[in-house]
Symmetry: C2
Subunit: 174 residues, 2 copies
């Protein structure tokens, strides 16, 4: 497998990150941002001041991007939230899995004690299974909270993983 | 029972709203904002551009404040999120219940099809029971996601209610 390198994103990566988002959002089947969401809205969220944002590179190309941020302020800020997006042409190569493992390590290193996903589309079986392989459990299910462009209103899953400070990095593909 | 009037909040209400938040947050048992959270951070959230914010008045005094906002952007923006806070001296008078009923009506009128609470402290039994009386169901439970100042890490509940467009306003105290 070709090496995937993950490094902090910079403003110079805005174009590349947007070029990943735009076609993925157009399908309207995995992310809350609607098809046609503005570059300003999406990048404003993805590069928000409280977030750490990374890009994943393979053979010198940016193939994915990830972020972590506190899921809540104050007395809830020990739980991280994370997001991932992979360029359609680079799916099935372990990019999302590598970004997830990296973000869990980064969250642990930053002192977060758990990670929570707030908005996993229940019909996105590939993602749900991938997060489960990384140790996430489904802790909630919100009925009809996502307007899937093809399927109509579908459920949203809330997924959670406790971060053990002593845990060593484990890539579930190994 | 003395009449509770709920009207849109304006910038002139910032001081009164902050005077409600500050002592409630100091107890560290119900809201994510930590004791000592800054006025700027709290009011920035409570009066965010995507929110509708109200104040509840009783006998000419502001006794509570509430907001609704889309819980997600784009394909998740048919689900409202809401928040409520009651001045400690005016608890037990139905202020939170009145604000909840009002916000459900307002959300329905604005076209939202459901309401979701993301962060109900599981040990806050009064709130959990009140939301249940208003028709909310627990759809998720996140372990140890709130650092309760007195109790340590406690669980967070995610609660949800579908809004039926034809539903008439019902105050569960009636």
């Amino acid at each position: 497998m070709k090496t995937i390198t993950i490094r902090p994103a910079t403003p110079a990566d805005h174009d590349a990150v947007w070029c990943i988002f735009e076609p993925v959002l157009a399908t309207g089947d995995t992310h809350a941002f609607a098809p046609g969401a503005s570059r300003e809205e999406v990048l404003g969220y993805w590069f928000q001041p409280s977030a750490h944002t990374w890009v994943a590179e393979q053979e010198g190309r940016i193939v994915g991007t990830s972020l972590i941020r506190p899921n809540q302020p104050g007395l809830g800020d020990h739980v991280a939230n994370a997001g991932y997006i992979v360029a359609p042409a680079f799916r099935g190569r372990g990019v999302a899995s590598a970004m997830c493992a990296h973000s869990l390590d980064a969250a642990r290193a930053a002192g977060f004690r758990a990670m929570q996903f707030n908005f996993v589309v229940a019909t996105n079986a590939v993602a749900v299974e991938l997060w489960k392989r990384h140790g996430f459990a489904v802790v909630g299910r919100v009925p009809r909270a996502f307007r899937h462009v093809a399927l109509g209103e579908v459920d949203i899953l809330i997924m959670h993983k406790t971060l053990d400070a002593g845990e060593t990095r484990g890539d579930p593909r190994a």
